[in-house]
Symmetry: C2
């Protein structure tokens, strides 16, 4: 049974993990015969946004603690991730990927990546194991992997950034998966496009299926 690490970035599309993408990723892994283990970095969120009004709130929330809501408490700090214990790693989207796992949404070209995320991706890349990302999360891989090919659907700012970091960019539509077979890097647009929940389910399922083929 193939073991997937799923890396979350909080709980809610505007300041954390895109919840539907996370749940559909877990469903796709299980449906396709794999097993998932959920991780998140133990760091404060960049900020907290009220998802009703879109406005910042003055609360402080922790990425690991909020991600535990999606995981029903079954989650581990990403610092404990070991590449030799897993067959693949996957990053659902949501602004948390670009605010908490990396700082791309804030710092643009000067973005940095969380150290635990950097270590996990580097270890899986070195081990030749599949790495997946959806929605805006491919910007993290654009920063960390010198030359690959990625998609965020049809979004210009992230496409420009990915190209500037040295990778190719593919325009994609609902459910399509961009694949770098050499580095085993997989991405799909999900909610970077104006998608329905069924299209998100299809996109995550296609991503996980493609990742499994190479295992």
């Amino acid at each position: 049974m193939k073991k997937f690490a799923v890396v979350l970035s909080g709980c809610g599309v505007f300041d954390g993990t895109e919840i539907t993408e996370a749940i559909m990723t877990m469903l796709a892994i299980k449906k396709n015969g794999g097993k998932y283990f959920i991780f998140a970095p133990d760091v404060d969120q960049y900020h907290v946004l009220n998802h009703l009004t879109g406005k910042p709130s003055h609360e402080k929330r922790n990425v690991l603690v909020e991600s535990a809501r999606i995981a029903r408490g079954k989650i581990q700090p990403l610092s404990t991730f070991r590449a030799d214990e897993f067959d693949a790693i996957v990053f659902p989207g949501g602004f948390g990927a670009a605010k908490n796992l990396s700082t791309w949404a804030v710092d643009g070209d000067d973005a940095t990546v969380n150290k635990d995320v950097e270590n996990a991706v580097a270890a899986m890349l070195a081990a030749g194991k599949p790495i997946g990302a959806m929605c805006i999360a491919p910007v993290i891989l654009g920063k960390l992997i010198p030359e690959t090919v990625l998609t965020t659907g049809n979004d210009k700012p992230s496409a420009d950034y990915i190209r500037k970091m040295g990778s190719d960019y593919e325009k994609t539509t609902h459910g399509e998966v961009t694949i770098d077979r050499e580095n085993k890097v997989f991405s799909t647009p999900c909610y970077m496009l104006d998608a329905t929940i069924v299209q998100i389910a299809d996109g995550t399922d296609n991503l996980i299926k493609e990742m499994m083929k190479g295992m």
Copy 2:
């Protein structure tokens, strides 16, 4: 296209909506040709639990604001719900159903139900439109509907309560739906059982399919 109102109770199994059940409900409605509209009452949560440690935190959070995380911001206060605009109403589970929508988890036999929830259920019942509940949410219907039949899987405290409130109780397992055809009341156990995510997807899909048959 059949219109479902989905009523949330926060964001996270221990103090709000069970997230997987909510997402799978939305997926099932869309997959089966319906359309969903998300509601939650605009009230404070009973409490906030740290989902990593299980311990209470001293924060205050609002049910409508936190539910908006699952809804990607597209949510309305339950006070604005009108039965004549919908074909069905459905309540995903999570402790929020028994702490925020009702007080059953706190007050047991003396539980009260949120006024907006009470009004919505009464209006749908009077209109002869399907009402669905999953996980622990059927205790709300046990309180509000004089004589029906409900399930929470195989859980003794909620079964005892439902019987005490005047309804019948059916033991069920993964994916089974308990149906009161006269009142059009539908329930399924979901995470009241030790379920996998695929079993949750099946259970919610079966519930929505059964609800749609009667429309």
